[in-house]
Amino acid sequence: MSPVVAEPGAAEQLEERASRLFSQHQQEVWRRVDRLLAWLMAGQWLVAIALALLFSPYGWEGKARGGEWHLHAAVFLGGALSVIPIALVWRRPGTLLTRHGVAVCQLLWSALLIHLTGGRIETHFHILGSLTFLAFYRDWPVLLTASGVAVVDHSLRGALWPESVYGTPSPEWWLLLEHTVWMGFLDGVLILSCRDAVREMREMARRRAVAELASECEHQKTRALDHALTELKSAQEHLIRVEKLAAVGQLAASVGHELRNPLAAVRNAHAYLSKRLARPEELAGDARVPQFLALMDRELNSCARIISELLDFARESPVSLQPCPLRPLVEEAMGMVPAREAVRVLNQVPEELPVPLLDREQFRQVLINLVQNAVEAIPAGRAGEVVVRAEGGGGEPLRVRVEDDGGGIPANVLPRIFEPLFTTKKEGTGLGLAIVATRVQRHGGTLQVKSEPGRGSEFLIQLPPATARAA
């Protein structure tokens, strides 16, 4: 709860909230008890009429006027005593006036019922019952009003018409005192319980206020956090978009540049051949004609290769993993790489290697790229060896190595080799290793490189056990 109190003005805020909650609760209690007592009033009316019809004639027999008068008292006086508080409850529920009005009427009901039963002592207990009901309000002044009404009623009727109260024309002088004392005793107990109840209500309100403020504070913090997260996310998305755009721009520029030379050569060759075709007699003797036709073919192929590598890089096709034996796949990839004299390419993947789960097409391309790079890494004119090995698999990570004993990668180049568009080759788009890295990543694996200038390089693919799981 300390974060709530620690804020400036938090104590006032807490008090204000607690007193508001307390008032709300009190109001709820008052209205509920109002309704309860309204029902009680209606019930008492029916009971009073029944008493007037069935009991009063015998209770008062021979002592006063006939039953007719009791019935009228029950119907009309009782009616007034019920209708007034019911009207108050209906029109002004939960107000001070209603509570005290109800209290006055309830005690007058006691008086009427005592009267209707001819002042029987049992009916006097109705007063105690009424006070107990009124204590439900948890508002002790109501009890004083009610008790005051009872005392005044007892005093006046005791003086003017003792039979109506005590059932005898000459009651003992201490009867009023006795009734008052009993009532006072009950009042004392009820007032104490009212005060306890109010104190508990206050405590409850305070606790609820603390909890509410704390939860609001948390809620606010959560909202602020959510807001910050949303902002962060949108900033990130923006950044990614910007980076993507920059990458696309860079890519376009680079590819455009790569395409320029082949296109210029093809155009020149085409222009030359067109002119030659206009004079067919010179065609046969011109050695440039077949040379240029071959050149156009080569250069157009080179354009096509650049475009298809770009498409490969741009395409984000998901991997579809299937059991795929590695050794035959390596064999296939090696077959795709143009052989070079004096460079031996060895497949040393063990036959018994557990069958891994791979996207056959994508992983084959990965192997082709790595093997081709390895072959090209061996300096022209000297012998060399490229080896593909594999280990692990099954429940362990699968490790595939492509090693060469070529020239190695210079230390300043090494950190950049996986960057798209980075190339040291004359005929390269710089996309090959970027494509390899992306595809290995899509398999959930990692690609690492170790290289020693002059001694060769090793590319290591590590695939997680899930991908390398034996089928």
Partner: protein, 143 residues
């Protein structure tokens, strides 16, 4: 043009070099070089009217080569071929200064011929001007 002018084509891309040379060979005597050093060596033995060079080459780039070449043979005209479109903006400025003509790759072969012809014309004029100037100088001395 009664005499065949000499064009030196310089490009590190072999396919571009031989095809450009073929396109120009109808109208000019064409020499080729794959880099700046080779081009300058050729200049020692030949008088060049137009040097048509790629901008982006290993070693000295096209602009450096043209500067060096014009210093050696002042009547020569230069054509710079580049893939960088940003040079387009400066084309007018360079051409006005007579430094060199610019051609953006990939170009129409016809355009290459036109530009080289224009450069050649300018080289021929420069040569005529300089011979007239020297003749004028000779006359002044005589008078």
């Amino acid at each position: 043009m009664n005499e065949r002018l000499t064009v030196l084509v310089v490009d590190d891309e072999h396919p571009v070099l031989i095809t450009a040379a073929a396109v120009l060979s109808e109208d000019f005597r064409v020499l080729t070089a794959t880099n700046a050093a080779e081009a300058l060596r050729l200049m020692d033995r030949n008088t060049i009217d137009v040097m048509c060079t790629d901008f982006n080459m290993p070693g000295r780039n096209g602009i450096h080569l043209l500067r060096e070449a014009t210093a050696r043979q002042p009547h020569m005209s230069g054509v710079l071929v580049t893939g960088h479109a940003e040079y387009l903006e400066k084309r007018d400025k360079y051409e006005a200064q007579g430094l060199y003509y610019l051609l953006i790759k990939p170009y129409e072969p016809q355009r290459l011929i036109e530009i080289v012809q224009r450069a050649a014309e300018s080289a021929r004029l420069k040569r005529v001007m300089s011979s007239l100037t020297s003749e004028l100088g000779a006359w002044k001395r005589v008078m």
